[in-house]
């Protein structure tokens, strides 16, 4: 039910975002053009090109990326029993961006502007490896050589430290690339949806939907793990298996979308938080609703980013960070007060 309503809201947000931009396209025109396209006719309207090759892909990409990051955030929060865990805060997004950059600059040697070919699969794969490596490193750092890294505060701290370490490597690698590439990569590192999309969108989309589907299967197990790992064991969850699977899947999803959009900050923090306030903490409800929330929120944030200083465009990551950082501080404050 809730998901249906949210899907409706998302559709409205899509239509709204399609209309707003440096070239406004009236609602009736865009709906007419969409209907024409579905019917297989071309009206020859100059706005058609803007709609189908610029705006629509971007709107859909924003939705996909937002939905994926929000779902990954929800999963990480249950897993680590900490409402502050999010792919960006944990350094997973930064790890994924490092993977992408290493692959683009060092391994493929093509730089950043080049698209297509093997890069379409290489970049998401490298981003996943970067993300997975970071999750492992964060976990090991937090556990400090002991067996269990149960303390989720340490985990967050380790994530933040590793993220800053990895972004300095990012910046170091960027010194080697040419000026033309630099602006694009700079925007991408903040989280940007304006870059053109190549064939990598297909594996990434498939991965996001499959991954979130699997997360949904584990949603009640995640509810139990959120109350405590020992409680989850007592109540029949194969805790180790579920944790490993969810870690890998959440990293995979994050890596996949970061390889396209860059590490957009705090979506995985904001959207689950809104979801929990409105619908409670049951992951069986939360995961699908947050998935849609992520799409809606990112879409609106990106629309804002590309219109607020029109015709200049801001990277969407700036808007999400401006919303997310205060929320993070608020949550931190509240968590401290609860104890």
């Amino acid at each position: 039910m809730v998901s249906l309503v949210l899907a409706g809201v998302w559709a409205l947000a899509v239509i709204l975002s399609l209309n707003i931009g440096s070239v406004p396209i009236p609602v009736r025109t865009s709906l007419g053009l969409l209907a024409d396209r579905l019917a297989g006719v071309s009206s020859g309207d100059p706005l058609e090109a803007v709609l189908f090759s610029v705006r629509l892909p971007r709107v859909l990409l924003g939705s996909l990326v937002g939905a994926a990051l929000a779902a990954a955030g929800t999963a990480f929060q249950s897993l680590l029993r900490n409402p502050l865990a999010d792919p960006y805060v944990l350094g997973v997004s930064t790890g994924a961006s490092l993977g992408t950059i290493i692959y683009s600059i060092v391994i493929a040697g093509t730089g950043f502007a080049t698209m297509g070919g093997g890069l379409a699969f290489g970049r998401p794969l490298a981003a996943f490896l970067g993300a997975a490596f970071t999750v492992g490193a964060v976990y090991l750092t937090a556990s400090g050589g002991r067996k269990a890294a149960d303390n989720s505060q340490r985990l967050l701290l380790a994530g933040i430290v590793l993220a800053s370490f990895l972004s300095s490597i990012n910046v170091f690698l960027l010194t080697s690339i040419n000026q033309a590439d630099l602006r694009g990569i700079f925007y991408w590192l903040i989280g940007d949806l304006s870059r053109q999309v190549d064939a990598s969108i297909y594996p990434v989309t498939a991965l996001v939907f499959a991954g979130v589907g699997i997360l949904y299967i584990f949603s009640h197990s995640l509810n139990l793990i959120a109350t405590g790992e020992e409680d989850a064991l007592i109540l029949g969850v194969e805790v180790k298996r579920v944790k490993t699977a969810v870690y890998i899947i959440a990293s995979l999803i994050t890596g996949a979308v970061v390889s396209i959009s860059g590490p957009i900050a705090y979506i995985g923090l904001i959207c689950p938080h809104m979801g929990r306030m409105l619908f409670g903490s049951d992951n069986r409800i939360l995961i699908p609703t947050v998935f849609l929330f992520g799409a809606i929120f990112t879409l609106l944030a990106d629309t804002l980013a590309r219109t607020i200083l029109s015709p200049a465009e801001l990277p969407v990551g700036i808007v999400t960070a401006l919303c997310g950082a205060p929320l993070f501080i608020y949550l931190l404050h509240r968590k401290g007060r609860d104890k």
């Binding site: 029993r81 405590g228 409680d231 064991l233 007592i234 109540l235 029949g236 929990r276």
Partner: protein, 269 residues
């Protein structure tokens, strides 16, 4: 050992980390309330965790439900046979009392499943048994310590298992709540024909409520049997190094009180 045990520990050893336990063997029967008692760090909780398969023994095995080895069962299957109230059960602050107790139905849900009417009925029954129905829609953060323990017990009862394990459930409770909780557990043990095992260092509470007692110290079982057989002055002196005054209660229980000489002399000053 005979075959009418529903849960049986055979020669369990555990020494990956402290406290270590050695050669633990005993059995639990339906309808019987058993207590493990011993000084801090004697390995009581470790034994309980071994029995529920949360940790694995280095040697020996746990047999459930007519001799099936626990080590070969999946967690979900174990959760339908053994319920446990952990010492520091976590509570999700966003949940209501009913939602939290309903977690006990997890071992019965299908992959994509939400709880059905039967799950809700079983949960409500468990909340009724523990006298928690008046808090159904209260947040778990709004209830007292004693109510929290009853809620954890309700979750365990919602699992509908023949075996119930309780870890230091009376810790941090005022004495009136301790007595109330133990009375409740004993009554449910009888009514539901459960094999109940409680671990505690509250020797007086266990003496008053349990049918059988296992006395542990230094990671080993020193004595086990009926309350009257095990809780004797000689045994307790050996384990705690203190004198106890022991009085038989009507029924099978005993009242155990430590005799603290120094304090007595202070009072008489």
């Amino acid at each position: 050992m005979s075959g009418d045990f529903i849960l049986e520990a055979r020669n369990l050893d555990f020494d990956y980390r402290k406290p270590i336990v050695r050669d633990i063997s005993f059995g639990l029967r339906p309808g019987t309330f058993t207590g493990i008692v011993g000084p801090n760090g004697c390995g009581k909780t470790t034994v309980l965790r071994l029995l529920d398969g949360i940790i694995r023994p280095l040697a020996g095995e746990v047999l459930v439900d007519g001799g099936r080895p626990l080590s070969r069962m999946r967690r979900r299957e174990i959760a339908r046979l053994i319920a446990m109230v952990p010492q520091n059960g976590g509570l999700d602050p966003y949940q209501t009392v009913l939602q939290f107790a309903m977690l006990g139905r997890a071992p019965y849900l299908s992959r994509f499943g939400f709880e059905n009417q039967k799950d809700e009925a079983v949960t409500l029954e468990a909340l009724e048994m523990t006298q928690m129905t008046r808090y159904l829609h209260a947040r778990v953060t709004e209830i007292s310590g004693g109510e929290k323990q009853r809620l954890l017990l309700a979750r365990a009862l919602a699992q509908r298992t023949p075996i119930l394990l309780l870890d230091e459930v009376t810790a941090n409770l005022d004495i009136n709540y301790q007595v109330e909780l133990m009375r409740l557990v004993r009554r449910i043990t009888r009514e539901q024909n459960l094999a109940t095992l409680v671990v505690s260092h509250e020797i007086n509470i266990l003496g008053a409520f349990c049918d059988r007692i296992i006395l542990m110290s230094g990671g080993r079982i020193r004595f086990q049997g009926s309350v009257g057989e095990t809780l004797t002055r000689e045994h307790l002196k050996q384990i705690f190094g203190l004198d106890f005054s022991i009085r038989r209660l009507p029924g099978a229980g005993v009242e155990v009180l430590p005799v603290i000489h120094e304090e007595t002399s202070h009072v008489s000053e």
